[in-house]
């Protein structure tokens, strides 16, 4: 990781630590917990889409797999939450492997369709496998997770818990991007043929990064489950998959920071728009449209542009 990223990471950490001391309203803290959860999946998806250039419109499935593994194993079978957490990761990465091998041979819109189909099938299974998942009514009564003996049972505790995870995942992702593997992933984005001809095993790398992003999704899912203590299929459908893609693109595909900004915007914006009642969906669509038309490189692209102009003036 270079100096610029380390510094930004440090500033972010400081802001995150200070935030709950300035803003004490639990509603805002709770919203930030969701920003963190969505941010974790968006960062994973950004590695897949922004870095390796492979789209997935089915990532809600991995979020759901993590969430349901944690929910079923802890609430119904009495597993230890951390045990369920890691089993969720295992399950998600196995499924990512099985789905990834045939899917990632597809290109462009065909890959989009395949991942979308996978996401929808998973969603339907969550709905229909009533004996295990509880069907549309979901699973409740999920226990809280403990960290070193402390129950993560308040918004503020969970805030620190989730954001610690996010910072860890962000650091690991930045390390990955600035490495031999990250470079190879970016080469796939630009020209798969040339990457192969330079000795990059593109098929294997694509599957690996797909699995990493699935793991991040599963982690976020488990964190979500133990926060809201209730899961039902409606949180893991196509709408959420598309929302995740939008977080990555609206934030700025070329950087994991963009994914984080996108996750923040698309999590917080609906909370503000809720006051608009019937106009909510309309305004939401309009905001997204305007960002995409005027900032094709996403919010982070716009920020970079402003920053560079500022530096030039100084």
């Amino acid at each position: 990781m270079d100096k610029k990223n380390s510094l930004t990471l440090l500033i972010l950490t400081v802001c995150l630590v200070v935030f709950p001391f300035i803003v004490t309203n639990t509603y805002y803290i709770s919203t930030m917990v969701f920003v963190g959860i969505n941010g974790i999946i968006a960062i994973g998806l950004s590695l897949l889409m922004g870095c390796a250039g492979q789209i997935s419109i089915g990532h809600a499935a991995f979020f759901g797999l993590g969430a349901y593994t944690s929910a079923v194993l802890t609430a119904k079978l009495g597993f230890h939450p951390w045990c369920a957490f890691f089993l969720g990761i295992l399950l998600s990465s196995c499924i990512a492997l099985i789905i990834g091998i045939p899917s990632l041979k597809l290109k462009g819109h065909y890959l989009a369709m395949a991942t979308l189909g996978f996401g929808e099938i998973t969603y339907i299974v969550f709905n229909e496998l009533t004996d295990i998942t509880g069907g549309p009514s979901g699973i409740g009564g999920i226990p809280k997770i403990y960290l070193a003996g402390y129950a993560m049972n308040t918004d503020i505790k969970y805030y620190f818990f989730v954001w610690a995870f996010l910072l860890l995942i962000l650091t690991l992702s930045l390390n990955l991007i600035h490495s031999r593997i990250g470079r190879a992933l970016r080469s796939i984005h630009d020209s798969e043929v040339a990457a192969n001809a330079m000795g990059v095993n593109t098929s294997k790398l694509k599957i690996q990064v797909f699995m990493i992003s699935a793991v991040f999704g599963s982690v976020a899912g488990s964190l979500y489950t133990h926060y809201v203590t209730f899961v039902s299929p409606s949180s893991f459908g196509l709408f959420f998959s598309i929302l995740l893609v939008m977080m990555v693109v609206i934030g700025g595909m070329h950087s994991v920071w963009g994914a984080l900004i996108g996750a923040a915007l698309l999590t917080i914006l609906p909370e503000f728009l809720r006051a608009l009642k019937d106009f909510e969906i309309f305004v939401y669509g309009a905001v997204l449209l305007l960002i995409m038309i005027f900032l094709p490189r996403g919010l982070i692209g716009g920020l970079e542009y402003l920053f560079n102009r500022l530096i030039k003036k100084v």
Partner: protein, 297 residues
């Protein structure tokens, strides 16, 4: 009802819904061919078509023969407005940007539809009553005949348009090679505009004919769009006859799966078949791998 008649019944309703998927898939293809993007707002055209028709014929009590062309006209305008205000202004379009733009537009359309028609599900009376016609032991809903009949008309008109008219041929030329087409003096930008207009119009037709069967609400667009996209991909993106075949196939499989296996899994079955086809043939049933390689994602 004996199993034999039941199967006939499922196939009939499968062909009907499949025809609608086929029209929606054609809408995807028309835009894909001229711009190489997937218009994720295609399903919203269908939803808007259905609801606009309901507005004209149910609320304003216009007769069908007036409501139908008026609705198609309104949808054509919506397609033109969409292209002018959201696709055309983008300076450096990449495929992912355009996908997100069309998704944003689809959310916008949904928002508008909710403001205009509310959250209720609306009913459009069938074009010629509801009395079933006996057919090989099954009961044939007359609206099914309307759906299939109008689909056939749309398909025939479109193929005449693309094969025998100057504008249609110019659009086909853009699909084959944009640069060459523009060198031949074809105004590519106008073709893009036209493709959106045409696509919205036939999306609207799909909405009009399906509304009496499935009813219509502001949030019905996404699922219909998804099925149409599935059919377009399954047939091989950009392939005219592939889309029709795949649309019908998806419709029939879905209907048989729902009836014979389990209704909850009906979408899963259709999607599973779609995935398997893609895994075996990565560019759809009629797609050519070399061609799909040219259209850069």
């Amino acid at each position: 009802m004996p199993l034999y008649s039941q199967i006939i019944q499922y196939v009939l309703s499968g062909i009907t819904i499949g025809s609608v998927y086929a029209i929606i898939a054609l809408g995807f293809n028309i835009i894909y061919n001229s711009t190489s993007i997937i218009n994720f707002a295609q399903g919203e055209f269908v939803m808007l078509g259905g609801l606009t028709m309901i507005f004209f014929t149910v609320m304003l009590k216009f007769p069908l023969v007036i409501g139908f062309p008026l609705t198609v006209l309104v949808l054509t305008l919506i397609g033109i407005i969409m292209e002018r205000f959201t696709i055309s202004p983008i300076k450096k379009p990449t495929v992912v940007t355009l996908i997100i733009v069309t998704i944003a537009v689809s959310i916008l359309f949904k928002g508008v539809a909710m403001l205009v028609w509310g959250k209720d599900t609306h009913f459009l009376p069938p074009f010629s009553g509801e009395k079933g016609i006996a057919f090989m032991g099954a009961s044939l809903n007359p609206q099914y005949i309307w759906v299939v009949g109008i689909t056939v008309v749309v398909v025939v008109l479109l193929s005449i348009f693309f094969k025998y008219t100057i504008i249609g041929k110019a659009m086909t030329a853009c699909a084959v090679n944009r640069t060459a087409a523009s060198l031949m003096g074809i105004n590519v930008k106008r073709m893009v505009l036209l493709s959106f207009a045409l696509s919205a119009a036939i999306g609207g037709i799909a909405g009009i004919i399906i509304a009496p069967i499935t009813l219509m609400a502001y949030d019905n667009g996404a699922m219909l769009g998804l099925k149409g996209f599935g059919a377009a991909v399954l047939g091989g993106l950009g392939n005219f006859y592939g889309a029709i075949f795949a649309g019908l196939l998806l419709g029939v499989m879905e209907s048989l799966g729902a009836g014979l296996i389990h209704s909850g899994y009906k979408d899963a079955i259709a999607l599973l078949v779609l995935l398997l086809v893609l895994f075996i043939k990565p560019s759809g049933i009629f797609g050519v791998t070399e061609v799909s390689g040219f259209k850069k994602f």
